[in-house]
Symmetry: C2
Subunit: 347 residues, 2 copies
């Protein structure tokens, strides 16, 4: 792998609420693979954010009490520098000349934002999915800067099953002839077929069998069936995947997706200390909340238990909260009736 240095990278972020006088009320949010920094609506951007029910006045992450920062991940395509940004040295897009990206790199981007606001110490760092890995990497690499950690549907390392799923998604994209080794025209959205198929695989791994049995059963899709094709869309679940995958097209850059997906595979907190337990020895957290979902196949509940157990060896208060949500890995975005109270109680 080629490590490298980015010249003058841009770090996009949004904020809500007001920093208090002793700068002690700052909550930092890292995101999953695909969201932007727009976690919630604001005066500047009143459109609904990806975690609208969680962040805002009187919401579980209460912007009347806290000054909240949400980072757009380095390597993404929503403002922060990534493979679809221009390399100042060449005047051309980075594409595959973008250096190998790690979750730790994403975590470090928050440092300059905290410096900008003269925040010495975070109240809490929060992350779900890849964002949970990033929050953990931040707490490990900057132990004096944070008192509390909230890890949601995340893990201390990627296991081979999730690596296999993501590796296959990446290969599906790379095998689309329109990917062209990363040289596609951005305006054409590049490997749209590969992205659509990879998105479908993502949706399969983000949800759960139980949810879909309840939701779709064996219902047939109306208005889709093609009498002339033996392989057209027939079942409701197939039309659901098709509709949602088509929405994703054009909204995310393929090369950015590849880099962020790979960064998750590469993450192993134990790389910072030989074992999960020893890598947490330097943490100076007061408390941690670890939430997971029993139907999550990408970040299985056993990984949340493993993370909570390892944290508990070095952190006084570790709350492990397994939730019985039906919606698999995506539950933190949709099962708000369970996630809102779980987060609100912690804060």
């Amino acid at each position: 792998m080629k490590r490298g240095v980015l010249k003058n990278p841009t770090f996009a972020f949004e904020t809500w609420g007001t920093l208090n006088s002793d700068r002690s009320n700052c909550i930092l949010i890292f995101t999953g693979l695909s969201p932007s920094a727009h976690a919630a609506s604001s005066n500047i951007d009143p459109s609904a954010g990806w975690w609208e029910d969680m962040v805002g006045p009187n919401k579980p992450i209460d912007t009347r009490r806290y000054f909240v920062i949400c980072m757009n991940s380095l390597g993404s395509c929503f403002g922060s520098t990534g493979p679809s940004s221009i390399d100042p040295d060449t005047g051309k897009l980075y594409r595959l000349t973008f250096p190998v990206l790690t979750v730790e790199d994403i975590a470090d981007t928050a440092i300059s934002v905290l410096e900008h606001y003269a925040v010495q110490h975070l109240h809490t760092v929060v992350g779900a999915s890849m964002g949970g890995m990033t929050a953990l990497a931040f707490a490990i690499n900057h132990p004096g800067k944070v008192s509390r950690l909230v890890s949601i549907s995340s893990a201390a390392r990627s296991l081979p099953y999730s690596i296999a799923l993501r590796s296959l998604q990446r290969e599906i994209i790379r095998k689309d002839p329109l990917w062209d080794n990363g040289r596609y025209l951005l305006a054409d959205h590049g490997p749209v077929t590969g992205m659509r198929l990879a998105r479908k695989l993502g949706m399969i791994s983000y949800r759960s069998s139980e949810e879909w049995s309840e939701r779709f059963g064996r219902e047939r899709a109306l208005g889709f069936t093609d009498e002339d094709s033996p392989f057209g869309i027939d079942f409701e679940v197939e039309s659901y995947l098709e509709t949602h995958a088509n929405k994703f097209i054009g909204s995310f850059d393929a090369n950015c997706y590849l880099y962020l997906s790979r960064a998750m595979d590469l993450f192993d907190a134990a790389d910072h200390g030989g074992s999960l337990s020893s890598c947490f020895a330097s943490l100076s957290l007061e408390s941690a909340l670890v939430i997971g979902v029993s139907t999550d196949m990408l970040f299985p509940i056993s990984q949340q238990q493993e993370l909570a157990d390892a944290l508990a060896q070095h952190v006084d208060e570790v709350i492990f909260k397994p939730l019985p949500s039906m919606q698999g890995h995506d539950s933190f975005l949709v099962d708000m009736d369970r996630f809102r109270p779980a987060i609100a109680e912690y804060f």
Copy 2:
């Protein structure tokens, strides 16, 4: 969907053992999606079969006691008529002119084979995965012809999660430009990239997260890593998928795969009677054995329980045997230490 009629189809099968004088010792085996009729070695073909440890002299399906028939599925490419066979009406390959295929069609092919051997009544019909669906369809549609059913890692219907996985596999194949709407040259193996990617997805759904965590952990692949590519094979699990997917190429026809995969989606035993329970009302089984595996994500253990419960309403002796195998759906092919005694005990 276009139903149709095949003119003079061929049904490939193999047999082992000897039919007894009253023709009461015949066991019929239906296969999963990809195997041939060569379940075990024989004098005619001494190569190892796909269920070599299960079928043979002194094996759980004991060919000293039983006359065993294994059918190659209609629609497959190992002897039975399928999309890669020649349509006698046109002299050309069927390809996508092959009519829509159902599990019930596959089940019915056994009738003429039984007539050939003058077997009026089967001792047992056995099937695993798609073969379990086929065995169930046979027992439902030909209730007077069979006394016992063994269903292994199968189900009475396809659920949306497994439909989604198979639908995506089919779309990956169909989106390969070399598929060419099914018109590829057989000698060139057609959509090899699509088939390789679909096979990888298959392997992910056939095994389990637990198995791969134990087996691969985060081991790196030696001899694969490409320093020049940020997305090459890096982890052991990726090289495992690559090696096994490459082996599959050329061994199975893409159009046959599409038809058989779709047949599984279409299967719902309840289509034969309004509900699972009522469709079993006409069964005349003495007993049934339902085996499933707790780590199976494609045919989850809850579906085995559902099948066993519905059968128990109309069959005197139903044995439900959940096994704690680690290898997911594929366990019946690899976890022989658990499956051999389970099958042997029944016979």
